[in-house]
C-alpha cells in the first residue's frame, strides 16, 4: 500500500527557494531577511593523499586543507592550501639497452666521475647514476616539495547570474605557476538551465636545475644556459547545465586553450640508435613552442533510488596530435544507515603526439620536434577505486578512498636486434590512499 518514497532531484532546493521568495518577496525580501543561513557558514576540509608507483618510481604525499566561508547571499570564499612531497624515480626518456648506461642527475655537467673535495654536496655538481642492462632509465633524483595555494570568490551578479573569480599559485624549487580564471553563469528556464562562460590565464616560470638545455642538442655536450623560461596559457570555456528529468542533471562543456613558450621538459632525453638499436647519442627533447587543445565533456548525475550515478565522457584533441577519450563513473550508494560506499571506475585512452618516438633512428633524428616522454605516447589507463564516507553527527564527514591505477603503453617493444626482448615502455601501476576529514563550524 505504501508508495515507495521517491528520490528528489537535486534542484528541489532551488525550486523551493524560488517558491519561498515569490511568496515572501513583498514582505520579507524587501526587509533584507533573506540570504543564506549562518549554519555551517564556515567549513574545513582536510585531506591526506598517499600515491605510490611501482618499481621505485614516484611516491607522493599530499596534504590539503580547504577552508570555505559563506558570507550569506550566496557569497562564498574558498581558500585551499596544499603541500605535496614527491620522491622517487622518473623515466629520463632514454631507451633501455643491453649494456649499462650512465647519466648524471640534472645539476651535473659531465658524465665523467671526478673526485670531489670532502664535504662538498654531491647534488650541486650532479651525481652519476648507472642503469642496469634491460632496465628503463629512471632518474633517481626526482625529489620536490610543491606548495600551492588557491583562492576562489563567488557571488551573485544580479538575479540569476553568478560570478566566480579564482587565483592560484604553486611553487616548486624549479617551477612556479600563477593562474587566474573568471567564470560567469546565468540561470534560465526556472533555474533548469544554466549557461556558463569562463576565461583563464596562466603564467609558468621554469628554472631548471643545472640550467636550460638547448633543445635537441647532444646531451653529452651539456649545452645549457642559466636563467629562466616562461610558458603562457590562455583558455576559454563554455558550458551548459540542464535538468533533464526529476532525477537527471547533465552538463556539457567545451574548452579550448592555447599554450606558448617553453613547453619542454628540461630533464627529458631521447635516444638516437643505430640500425641495431644501439644508442649512439642522447639528445635533449624538443617540443613545439605552442600547443592548442580542445575538449568536450559531458557529465551526468542520475539519482537511482537511494543511489547516485555520476557518469562522464570526455573527448580531447590537440595540434600535437594527441587525441584522448575518457569514460568515468562514480556510483554512490548508502550502506548501513548514513554511511555511503562509492565505487569509482575510469578508463582513459590517448594517442601519441606526432613527434613522440620511443627512440630516434638515423632517419628521423634530424626532425626538429622529438620527445620520448611516456606521457606523450599512446597508452590506455584504468583506475578502479572505492570510497567509504561516514557522515558525523556534528555535520562533518570522514572518508577513506583506495584506488589502483594502471597505465599500459601501446608500444613497448622494438624489432631492432639490439632491443629485442626488452620492455622499452613498461606498464605503470600505482596505488592511492586518501583520507578526508570535513567539519563545519
Amino acid at each position: 500500500m505504501q508508495l515507495k518514497p521517491k528520490p528528489a532531484a537535486g534542484n528541489l532546493r532551488a525550486g523551493l527557494m524560488a517558491a519561498t521568495c515569490a511568496l515572501l518577496a513583498p514582505s520579507v525580501k524587501a526587509q533584507g531577511v533573506s540570504g543564506a543561513d549562518e549554519f555551517d557558514n564556515a567549513s574545513v576540509d582536510t585531506g591526506l593523499l598517499y600515491y605510490q608507483e611501482d618499481k621505485g618510481r614516484v611516491r607522493s604525499i599530499d596534504a590539503i586543507v580547504k577552508l570555505s566561508h559563506d558570507f550569506g547571499d550566496e557569497r562564498t570564499l574558498t581558500a585551499t592550501g596544499s603541500v605535496d612531497s614527491l620522491t622517487g624515480g622518473s623515466p629520463n626518456g632514454a631507451v633501455a639497452q643491453l649494456s649499462p648506461q650512465t647519466f648524471t642527475t640534472p645539476s651535473g655537467s659531465s658524465l665523467v666521475a671526478t673526485p670531489r673535495p670532502r664535504g662538498e654536496d654531491d647534488d650541486e655538481h650532479g651525481k652519476l647514476y648507472t642503469i642496469a642492462p634491460g632496465d628503463q632509465p629512471l632518474d633517481p633524483s626526482f625529489r620536490d616539495l610543491r606548495v600551492a595555494g588557491d583562492l576562489t570568490w563567488s557571488q551573485p551578479l544580479g538575479i540569476g547570474n553568478k560570478l566566480s573569480a579564482n587565483g592560484h599559485l604553486s611553487v616548486e624549487h624549479d617551477f612556479q605557476s600563477a593562474s587566474t580564471s573568471l567564470m560567469f553563469s546565468r540561470d534560465f528556464n526556472s533555474k533548469n538551465t544554466t549557461l556558463g562562460v569562463g576565461v583563464s590565464g596562466e603564467l609558468d616560470v621554469i628554472k631548471p636545475i643545472g640550467g636550460v638545455p638547448v633543445a635537441g642538442s647532444d646531451y653529452t655536450l651539456f649545452q645549457k644556459s642559466d636563467g629562466t623560461e616562461n610558458k603562457h596559457v590562455l583558455g576559454a570555456q563554455l558550458g551548459v547545465t540542464q535538468v533533464l528529468a526529476r532525477n537527471w542533471i547533465a552538463q556539457l562543456n567545451f574548452s579550448v586553450d592555447s599554450s606558448s613558450g617553453y613547453l619542454n621538459d628540461p630533464y627529458k632525453l631521447v635516444s638516437n640508435v643505430d640500425v641495431n638499436g644501439v644508442t649512439q647519442q642522447y639528445l635533449f627533447e624538443s617540443r613545439p613552442g605552442s600547443r592548442q587543445r580542445r575538449s568536450v565533456w559531458l557529465g551526468n548525475k542520475l539519482a537511482l533510488g537511494n543511489s547516485v550515478l555520476d557518469l562522464s565522457l570526455r573527448y580531447g584533441t590537440d595540434d600535437w596530435g594527441i587525441d584522448s577519450q575518457t569514460v568515468e563513473a562514480h556510483y554512490r550508494m548508502r550502506v548501513g544507515g548514513s554511511m555511503y560506499l562509492e565505487p569509482h571506475l575510469r578508463w582513459y585512452k590517448q594517442g601519441a603526439a606526432d613527434f613522440y618516438r620511443m627512440y630516434l633512428t638515423g632517419a628521423d633524428a634530424a626532425t626538429s620536434d622529438k620527445s620520448a616522454d611516456p606521457r606523450l605516447g599512446a597508452f590506455t589507463a584504468k583506475t578502479i577505486g572505492v570510497k567509504l564516507g561516514v557522515p558525523l553527527a556534528s555535520g562533518g564527514e570522514v572518508g577513506v578512498r583506495l584506488e589502483a591505477y594502471q597505465q599500459d603503453p601501446k608500444t613497448h617493444t622494438s624489432a631492432l636486434a639490439g632491443l629485442a626482448g626488452l620492455d622499452l615502455n613498461p606498464r605503470l601501476r600505482a596505488v592511492m590512499l586518501q583520507l578526508d576529514w570535513k567539519f563545519g563550524f
Binding site: A8, R13, G15, V33
Partner: protein, 299 residues
C-alpha cells in the same frame, strides 16, 4: 490590524535581551529583541503578536469566518481569493509539484481516519479509500482571482501557516527596529542577525523514545524549523505510525525519522524542507544530504 490586548503579552528581561511572549496557533510564541528598552520590546512584541493572530484568524480551519473556513464550506461555488491567499496557494501548488504530489494541502480530510493521539486504532482501508476520493490538489480549479473547491474537499494551511507567520512577523518588526531579533512560534524560528554578544542559543525540542531531547544550536540568521511527531503518533500491531501522511497512498509515511530540523534562508523554506524530508520516509537523511541543507535528524 487587530487591537492587541496588552495583558496577553509577557515581557521580561533576559540578560542582554528582552523576551516578549504570547500564545497563538496553539503554540507558545516569543520575540527576542537585543535591546535594554522594555517599552520598545513590548511595542515590537505587539506587532509580531498581531501578525501571528492575524494569520491564525485568517487561515484557521476551525473558524467558519476564516478564509479557509469560507473555502471549505463553499460547496463547489467559486470564492474570491485575496492576493495574499493567492500567493500562499501558489506556493502550495509549487510544493505539491516539487514533491511529486506528496505534499498536498487538500490532505486534511485524511485526519478523520487517522487520529494521531498515541492510541492504537487502525483505520480500515475502505474508510481511507473513501477519503482519498476527496483529496487532490490538481482537482482545485483556479480562476483569475477566485478558487473553486470541489464539494467534499478541504484545504488546510497547517503545513505552512505557522512558518509563514514567523517570516511575516519578523519582516514587520524589522520595519520598526534594526537590532538583532528572533521570532519563535512553537519551535519554528527566524532571525535577522545575531546579537553583538554572539549567536542566538536556540533549544529545539526533539521527540525521542523517552520524552524530549533538546537540540542546542548556535543560530545566526535565517530560518529554522522542525517537523516531527512529538506526541502525534499511534501504534497498531506493534508498528508505530507517524503523523506524516502520504496522500498518494492515504497511509502514514513509513520509516521517517521521529524529527527533522532544517536550517534555511527563512523559516518557511526550512519548514517545507523538513516536511518534504519526512515524506521521504527512510530516505529522509539522504534527501537532505542531496539538497545540501544543514539538518539534524533524530530517529
Amino acid at each position: 490590524m487587530l487591537a492587541v490586548a496588552r495583558d496577553a503579552l509577557r515581557v521580561e528581561r533576559r540578560g542582554e535581551l528582552v523576551a516578549v511572549q504570547w500564545q497563538a496557533m496553539a503554540s507558545p510564541c516569543e520575540l527576542l529583541v537585543a535591546t535594554r528598552d522594555l517599552d520598545l520590546a513590548r511595542r515590537l512584541g505587539e506587532v509580531a503578536a498581531g501578525e501571528a493572530w492575524r494569520i491564525e484568524h485568517k487561515y484557521s480551519r476551525y473558524r467558519d469566518d476564516s478564509v479557509i473556513g469560507a473555502l471549505n464550506h463553499s460547496n463547489g461555488v467559486p470564492v474570491a481569493v485575496d492576493p495574499e491567499t493567492m500567493l500562499l496557494l501558489q506556493f502550495a501548488a509549487r510544493c505539491h509539484e516539487l514533491s511529486d504530489g506528496a505534499f498536498d494541502i487538500t490532505s486534511g480530510v485524511l485526519r478523520r481516519a487517522w487520529r494521531f493521539d498515541g492510541g492504537a486504532r487502525m483505520p480500515d482501508a475502505v474508510q481511507i479509500e473513501a477519503l482519498r476520493t476527496r483529496i487532490g490538489f490538481d482537482r482545485l480549479r483556479f480562476e483569475e482571482s477566485a478558487l473553486i473547491v470541489p464539494p467534499g474537499m478541504e484545504l488546510d494551511f497547517g503545513g505552512i501557516g505557522k512558518e509563514y507567520a514567523v517570516d511575516c512577523a519578523l519582516a514587520l518588526v524589522l520595519r520598526e527596529f534594526d537590532g538583532a531579533m528572533l521570532v519563535n512560534f512553537g519551535g519554528d524560528i527566524a532571525a535577522n542577525h545575531q546579537p553583538d554578544s554572539g549567536p542566538w542559543k536556540v533549544g529545539v525540542e526533539r521527540p525521542d523514545a523517552h520524552g524530549a531531547a533538546r537540540l542546542l544550536l548556535d543560530f545566526g540568521r535565517g530560518g529554522l524549523a522542525t517537523s516531527g511527531d512529538t506526541h502525534r503518533f499511534f501504534e497498531h500491531g506493534g508498528k508505530r505510525y507517524g503523523h506524516i501522511l502520504d496522500v498518494r497512498s492515504g497511509y502514514p509515511v513509513e520509516g521517517a525519522p521521529r524529527s527533522v530540523t532544517v536550517a534555511a534562508a527563512c523559516c518557511l523554506e526550512a519548514g517545507m524542507m523538513a516536511t518534504l524530508a519526512m515524506l521521504q520516509g527512510a530516505g529522509a537523511e539522504e534527501f537532505l544530504a542531496a539538497q545540501g541543507v544543514p539538518n539534524w535528524c533524530l530517529r
